[in-house]
Amino acid sequence: MSAPATARTRVLSQARFELGTLLANGEQLLVSLILPLGALIGLAYTTAPSLGDGRRIDLAVPGVLALCVISAAFTAQAIATGFDRRYAVLRLLGTTPLGRDGLLWGKALATLAVEVLQWLVIGGVGLALGWQPALSGLPIALVFLVAGTWAFVALALLLAGLLRAEGVLAIANLVWVLLLVLGGVIVPRVAMSGTLASVAGVLPSAALADGLRAAFEAGVFDGLALLILLAWGIVATLVAARTFRWSD
């Protein structure tokens, strides 16, 4: 009788498959690694825009690490899922032993793996540029990494499950740019003007970046930022679970 591989094997296999596809995709690599790297080097060798009080490189690196999470968990995942949905890949995999749950876990694991690679590269370049992170903040930063990944993957699936693939492509890239410029990611909220800063204050992008800055600058746990991220994760998951359509 035909039998499935174990659930663990199926999920790991799907994660490896997705990771390989992502790394082989030039555009994804551009958004996930080259652009954040460019942002980091740009910030390191300029004095504007102001990032607020403190050593510039120590403020810049956590913001770029947050940008990496937004790239991998939101933009790349939304676009990949939108096109997989268009080409019925989600439906075909749903009929294999992998199933829908296995597909979601596989995507989550692949996203975390991409983020670890991004963090190693950005963190390494950051250290070379003089970044001095508070090592006591690393466990806190990892909590924010997981919470941020959850919130942004849920938002990605919310978007990818509703619109057609071209719409997902356009909006996922547009949101990335908007969050980069206005979302309190690279330029911290404290360095933004009043109205913009208060809008950014409720965004998951600023919550993630503020949480990472607090963790790496002084080993401080920003509880409010984590609550905001978790709230986005919960709401986006609930809405996506209701609205996600597996077929185009």
Binding site: R10, R16, G20, L92, G102
Partner: protein, 214 residues
């Protein structure tokens, strides 16, 4: 709509566009939940079925479902890894002529090449039941014969095969059981001899399906 695909046979499902062939197949593989009635595959309700059940059922969708950004053999190796005892990839790939385009990204494959790869994907788990939605659409005559031979062999090994088709030639070449669907109802089911009698499949088909349209 009521019909049964006998175990170990090849059932051909015929019917005009919009008659409900694809909907019936999608209900049978758990992609759609029927509005009413019951569907059983290997004695199991396919809607929200377990991984154990899904491992026993091979599926080829009309819409393909192949990821664009990968190459054929990498995709087959990945799908094979989802099963405890999958089929050997290289004999299957060479049988379907996939080695000839194994270096091409799925995005760049022709329609017929995609069909071959999708069929290999449906067979990779050595299923007990195989659902194929128009498996030879877009294939050249040689490709069709290759697929017929392969499906006969799979059926001879004991796999139950269900194919939808618009081709009378295909139904006659393959089917041990026929189902004709029209406007959401099964209007004829049985062995080819029972359905066709001493007439041709074509004339029986048009008689059965024209009435519904008129």
């Amino acid at each position: 709509m009521t019909w049964v695909a006998p175990a170990g046979g090849i059932t051909a499902v015929l019917g005009p566009n919009g008659a409900g062939k694809t909907t019936a197949i999608e209900c049978a593989v758990g992609l759609q939940r029927p509005d009413g009635g019951t569907v059983r595959v290997l004695g199991t309700d396919p809607w929200l079925s377990s991984a154990e059940h899904r491992a026993r059922v091979g599926v080829m969708l009309q819409s393909g479902g192949l990821p664009n950004g990968t190459k054929p053999l990498r995709l087959l190796a990945h799908l094979a890894s989802l099963y405890a005892v999958p089929a050997d990839i290289s004999p299957l790939a060479s049988r379907l002529g996939i080695d000839a385009f194994s270096g091409t990204t799925v995005r760049r494959l022709s329609g017929g090449q995609k069909q071959r790869l999708a069929l290999a994907a449906a067979l990779i788990g050595r299923p007990e039941v195989l659902f194929l939605d128009e498996p030879t659409a877009g294939l050249d005559p040689h490709g069709r014969l290759d697929v017929y031979d392969l499906l006969r062999e799979v059926a001879a090994d004991g796999t139950t095969v269900v194919v939808t088709t618009h081709s009378f030639e295909e139904a006659q070449a393959l089917a041990t059981h026929l189902v004709v669907i029209s406007a959401g109802r099964a209007v004829a089911t049985g062995s080819p001899a029972e359905v066709v009698g001493d007439r041709t499949l074509e004339s029986v088909y048009f008689d059965l399906t024209r009435k519904e349209r008129a």
